[in-house]
């Protein structure tokens, strides 16, 4: 346990610094709230729509697909490093993995997720 | 033990029959329903015969079929196992054989009933359950059958359920039997607690291994009691079950009411087979009862008293089936009496012969009722001798057999029971003799009033349009009557043949042998006395009822007057129960309804506990806000507490 004690102390110090700064800011900072000041700031103009805007679901789909293939790459790199060590077992396992992903891509494509319109 | 897996088909075939009829019977042709019902029971009978043959060929080694391993918990093991030894063989032949005959008879008796298929469905169900009961190799398996026959009996008594009275009779039978079942279960648990097994073979070995029965137990849940005391308690508990199923004092009241069912049912279930289940159980557990002599005394006394008590009631009944019902109760009393004096083979012998002649009598009464378009009152019968001669002949033979006239089957079996009873104690012997006299008397009264004199039916034209029984009804009658005549040959007395009777030898390995200790002269004298008593009863019956109508003497002594009043009203036992137990229960019920329920149960227990439960439920619901944030907060809090607690 002793070895971890220092880490614990580090955590504690970090938390305390954050706490102290936050407290200081809220205590010392001058405050004079009025309705106009409370409003969201939009380049000096009165705000027009809701603050949180809906983003088209297409973005999410693209983001998802990006992550999927990103992860695939992350898998492929370490695999390539020890490829010879793993032998055929490793090779076929990865082929299966990529094939399933490929079929997934076909599915997504046919489903129309890649059409922006 | 020899493996003989076909045993499973004995209960399975009728069960399949019941299943098929229950599901598709309504849409079936009547003839195909008949084929299903009859062929399955006949199949069971055939397998029983083959099994018996196999067993005998192997020098009586019991057969066994383990269907599946049922419950294995800790050190308790119960297999769903069927066994087949001599005792089983004897009863199974009766159950499936007589059962088949009664199925055949029913095709004629029930032919006009719209629920023909339903009747045979229940009847098949009964045969299946009864086979299970007899074949069961351990107490739990036997109990499945025990409950099954109770269910089938309930369904069949209330077969014409649109008649409230009949439905009530079914319910009465069921509830009375439940009281007995409670005893059965208690007995089972005691046995399990004492010996750690419920299998008959292992129990027998365990009982044999018990040393002196007076020794105190030092371990187990019965520590501090002697083996004898515990076994006696178990046997009494089982006997309570027997009084329910085999209609003994005090639980016999359901059997006479059970006559509400169709007559073939009365013959099969309430005379030949189901009601003998209690006797079978005691024979099966004979090794247990033997080391509990005190329990046996109770059994003998209850049996003897039932024999006489029911016979007295039988004297004053006017419903032909009621007379036979009380006669059955009385004869069951003889069987129980025989068990009580340790004469298991004699009990079983009487069970078998009784199955023959009583089934024949019931079927005969069914033929009579059928002929008279449903008339059951013997005061409106008479002179039927000429109209239904075959029924008359078979009825006469069976009556004589029941009365105990030499050389019919009833004579041999009843005489054996009486001889053993009087050897055990003179008073038991006297009880038995009184019962025998009454039996002969009420049976001859029934016989003469039914068949002699002129037909006294209120409908003067009845004579011309009697329903003559068909072949399907007459053939079973003839076969059963023949069996009632020759059935005695199963176990001829030692003094006749100078060798042990067949049944004695056959059942010896299971039930042990017990021989009369009286001299040959004494035995002949005893037989003469028995026959004399029976003849006296019949003669009295003839004198009083010989013309088919009661004579003046009979009218004033038996058919009316205070004695008649008491007997006709069955010693007021129903009223006694009504005014004591039932009223007391009702009182308790209303007490509960007015005081205990609203104040103690509802007020304190329910309101408090449900308040506690639902209150805490409502409290526990608080964190269930629907907010994911608060869920996560609870989650983190719990992890923090648990981790903190686990680490420090």
């Amino acid at each position: 346990m002793a070895n971890y004690g220092t880490i614990f102390v580090l955590f504690l110090i970090a938390a305390m610094i954050a706490l102290i700064l936050w407290t200081l800011a809220s205590v010392l900072g001058p405050k004079a709230p009025n309705p106009r000041k409370e409003r969201p700031f939009e380049c000096g103009n009165p705000p027009l729509g809701p603050v949180v805007r809906r983003v088209s679901v297409k973005f999410y789909i693209v983001a998802l697909l990006f992550i999927v293939f990103d992860i695939e790459t992350v898998f492929l790199y370490p695999w390539a490093v020890i490829f010879s060590e793993l032998g055929w077992l490793g090779f076929w396992t990865m082929v299966t993995f990529v094939a399933i992903l490929g079929l997934g891509l076909v599915y997504v494509w046919k489903k129309g997720a890649l059409d922006w319109a | 033990m020899i493996k003989f897996s076909s045993l499973a088909y004995i209960p399975l075939l009728p069960l399949i029959g019941a299943f098929v009829l229950g599901l598709w019977g309504k849409k079936m042709e009547r003839s195909s329903a008949t084929i299903v019902a009859l062929s399955t029971v006949l199949g069971s009978f055939a397998i029983t015969v083959i099994a018996t043959y196999t067993m005998v060929k192997n020098n009586g080694t019991p057969l066994q079929a383990v269907l599946w391993e049922w419950i294995y918990v800790g050190r308790y093991r119960v297999d769903l196992a069927l066994g087949f030894d001599q005792l089983t063989a004897a009863l199974m032949l009766v159950v499936t054989g007589v059962g088949f005959l009664i199925h055949v008879y029913s095709t004629g008796y029930m032919e006009e009933d719209p629920s023909y298929w339903r009747f045979f469905c229940y009847l098949n169900l009964f045969v299946a359950a009864m086979s299970m009961l007899v074949l069961g190799q351990s107490l739990p398996v036997l109990f499945i059958g025990w409950e099954g026959v109770g269910l089938a009996s309930y369904l069949l008594i209330g077969f014409w359920y649109s008649d409230t009275e009949k439905a009530d009779a079914g319910r009465k039978a069921f509830i009375t039997n439940r009281i007995g079942d409670f005893g059965f279960l208690i007995g089972t648990f005691i046995v399990l607690g004492l010996f750690g097994t419920m299998d008959f073979t292992q129990l027998r070995q365990a009982v044999a291994a018990v040393g002196p029965t007076d020794a105190m137990l030092t371990t187990g849940i019965f520590a501090g009691f002697s083996v004898k005391a515990v076994v006696t308690a178990a046997c009494i508990a089982f006997f309570i079950g027997v009084t329910g199923k085999s209609a003994q004092i005090p639980l016999y009241v359901w059997l006479p009411d059970a006559m509400a069912g169709p007559t073939p049912v009365s013959a099969l279930i309430h005379a030949a087979t189901m009601v003998t289940a209690g006797v079978y159980l005691m024979c099966r557990l004979g090794f247990l009862f033997t080391i509990a002599p005190d329990a046996l005394v109770v059994v003998a006394v209850v049996g003897g008293l039932t024999a006489v008590f029911a016979a007295t009631i039988g004297v004053a009944q006017n419903d032909i089936k009621k007379v036979l019902a009380y006669s059955t109760v009385s004869q069951l009393g003889y069987m129980v009496l025989a068990v009580g004096v340790g004469a298991y083979t004699a009990a079983f012998f009487h069970l078998i012969t009784h199955a023959f002649f009583k089934a024949c009598l019931f079927l005969g009464s069914g033929a009579i009722i059928h002929a008279l378009h449903g008339e059951q009152d013997i005061r409106r019968m008479g002179g039927l001798r000429k109209h239904i001669p075959i029924t008359h002949a078979t009825f006469l033979v069976s009556t004589l057999a029941l009365a105990g006239i030499v050389p019919l089957s009833g004579f041999f079996s009843k005489d054996l029971v009486l001889a053993f009873a009087s050897e055990r104690s003179a008073s038991l012997g006297i009880l038995g003799s009184v019962g025998a006299f009454l039996t002969a008397f009420y049976m001859s009264r029934l016989y003469f009033m039914t068949f002699f004199g002129e037909l006294r039916h209120p409908d003067p034209h009845m004579k011309d349009h009697l329903h003559k029984p068909g072949l399907s009804m007459e053939i079973p009658l003839i076969i059963l009557a023949a069996l009632a005549v020759v059935g005695g040959a199963l176990n001829l007395p030692h003094v006749f043949t100078h060798t042990d009777g067949f049944l004695d030898r056959f059942l010896g390995p299971v039930l042990g042998t017990k021989v009369l200790s009286m001299t040959a002269t004494a035995e002949y004298f005893f037989m003469a006395k028995s026959v004399g008593i029976a003849v006296a009863g019949i003669v009295l019956g003839y004198v009083l009822y010989g013309r088919g109508v009661p004579t003046k003497a009979a009218e004033s002594f038996v058919e009316s007057g205070p004695v008649h009043g008491v007997l006709y009203n069955k010693w007021f036992v129903d009223e006694l129960y009504q005014n004591t137990i039932i009223r007391f229960t009702r009182f308790l019920g209303s007490l509960a309804a007015m005081v205990i329920d609203p104040w103690i149960i509802d007020g304190i227990l329910v309101k408090l506990s449900s308040g506690l439960v639902s209150g805490s439920g409502r409290l526990l619901r608080k964190p269930q806000t629907g907010n994911v944030q608060s869920y996560a907060a609870v989650f983190v809090l719990a992890v923090a507490i648990i981790t903190g607690w686990a680490v420090w």
């Binding site: 077992l89 | 639902s614 439920g617 409502r618 526990l620």
Partner: protein, 497 residues
């Protein structure tokens, strides 16, 4: 070839994966707009997989996909195969319950069945996991499939809410689980179960770290089986999910998590001081789960929600078995398997009846107790089936539910856990109240409107599903011994392997 050999040892997984991928392809190439083929096709796949799982029962335990000098991530043994068979049977019934429901709910269907199959793949991987990372992978594959299935009725607000909640809470819990695995790795230097067992026997440095890791791992599993106090998501999610999926989730996810837990406890953490420290913690969770689950089930007005809490309480009974197992009582392993099997059939059956009634008697969700008034007379067969399931859930003979509890309790007695047994029996007594209430409303509440009977649109699939569930419950109640012996054999393979 090593790879092909490895694949033949896990044929159930291969078959399922193939079926699911083909289903997806067929869906997008639109070879058939009649949706019933998708159900039938996945049924065939599940049946074939089931066959291979049962066949795998007899095979020797095999360690598969091991890199050179590394421990095997997948262990195909009798235990894994038996567990797979149970989960496959559950999925089979769940698929049978689905076609009518998704037709009425108008949700897309090809993906629906493919997702079920993918989830089952994850479950089987969990049951066969040889190390904690593979266990985690299986858990995620299963969970992601179930997250999507929960929200598959996209136009239903309740369903979307449920899916989002489940996803958020699930991700949250997975974080703890992973943290636990990381701690365990940190303390012992391995995640492979057999290696862990060896490390445990030798004195390990940093015991508090290991204990923390174990606790966090168990928290993750406790979340998946909806054990109190990590159950809060369950009622909302169960209520919002499509009813067949609720059933699938209640039995499949739970069974997979418990089976994996049994393997982890029996193989990885047997007889170590650290795991002994954790036992009281599992006990407390078991106590809480049984008591809170049952108490909350009583106050519910909605049958689906009641069943959700009841499934919480059943997780508690299974946890009793885990505690007994952790105490070294070997019969508990088979007892838990038996319990899960019985639970699978009775719970799916109950949800199946709900599917039937929802569809027919209101179109939408009609789940209040009152909506069931007199159903026993309108649909006699259905009434009988529901009574069987309720009686089984309450733990009465002659059903599998009775023997499941019997085995669990008797193994706990052998392990000396009398307190838990007492709590379990108390919980069962409480549970009788709300289970019988369903039967009461089926039979003994007057039908409010004795109008014309609704025209019965019979679905063969649904009927078949209910028949299988009823048969399963009763078979386990009448022939309990065969299954428990199979469970014992399977559990033995776990210790040999």
């Amino acid at each position: 070839m090593q790879y092909l050999n490895a694949l033949t040892a896990i044929l159930p997984v291969v078959v399922l994966l193939g079926t699911a991928v083909i289903l997806l392809m067929l869906e997008v190439f639109s070879l058939g707009k009649d949706r019933i083929w998708a159900a039938n096709f996945s049924l065939v796949g599940l049946a074939v997989a089931f066959y291979f799982a049962m066949k795998g029962l007899g095979a020797e335990p095999q360690a598969l996909f091991a890199g050179p000098g590394k421990s095997a991530p997948i262990i195909a043994d009798a235990f894994g195969n038996l567990a797979a068979a149970v989960m496959l049977a559950g999925a089979f019934v769940a698929v049978l319950l689905s076609p009518e429901y998704i037709k009425n709910a108008r949700c897309s269907s090809g993906e629906y069945y493919a997702l079920i199959l993918f989830s089952v793949v994850g479950m089987i991987v969990m049951a066969m996991a040889g190390d904690l990372i593979t266990f985690f992978l299986g858990l995620e594959v299963m969970s992601i499939g179930v997250y999507v299935l929960t929200g598959i009725r996209r136009n239903d607000l309740r369903a979307s809410e449920a899916a989002l909640k489940y996803l958020l809470m699930g991700a949250f819990a997975t974080g703890f689980l992973l943290m636990g695995i990381a701690f365990i790795y940190g303390a012992t230097g391995t995640v492979a179960l057999p290696e862990l067992a060896r490390q445990m026997v030798a004195p390990v440095g940093g015991a508090p770290i290991l204990v923390t890791g174990l606790v966090l791992l168990l928290v993750g599993v406790a979340f998946k089986v909806a054990a109190v106090p990590f159950h809060l998501w369950a009622p909302d999610v169960y209520e919002g999910a499509p009813t067949p999926i609720t059933g699938f989730m209640a039995v499949g996810v739970k069974a997979a998590a418990f089976v994996a837990l049994v393997r982890i406890v029996a193989v990885g953490f047997a007889n170590s001081e650290e795991s002994a420290v954790v036992i009281p913690f599992i006990s407390v969770i078991a106590y809480l789960t049984i008591i809170v689950g049952n108490l909350l089930a009583i106050v519910q007005r909605n049958v689906k929600r009641m069943l959700a809490y009841s499934s919480v309480s059943h997780a508690g009974y299974a946890l009793i078995g885990v505690v007994a197992l952790a105490r070294g009582e070997e019969s508990a392993g088979a007892a838990v398997l038996f319990y899960l099997t019985a639970y699978t059939f009775m719970t799916l059956g109950a949800f199946g009846v709900l599917v039937f009634l929802e569809r027919k008697e209101g179109g939408a969700e009609s789940e209040r107790f009152g909506a069931f008034a007199g159903m026993g007379y309108r649909h006699p067969a259905l009434g009988v089936a529901m009574s069987v399931f309720m009686v089984a859930l309450a733990g009465m003979p002659p059903t599998g539910g009775f023997f499941g509890k019997l085995y669990i309790f008797s193994s706990a007695i052998n392990a000396g856990e009398m307190g838990l047994v007492f709590a379990g029996i108390l919980g069962s007594i409480i549970s009788v109240y709300y289970y019988l209430r369903v039967i009461v409303s089926f039979y003994m509440v007057d039908v409010p409107d004795a109008g014309p009977l609704p025209t019965a649109t019979r679905s063969r699939h649904l009927t078949a599903g209910l028949i299988i569930a009823t048969a399963g419950v009763l078979t386990l109640g009448i022939f309990p011994n065969q299954w428990i012996e199979l469970g014992k054999l399977a559990f033995k393979s776990l210790q040999l392997g």
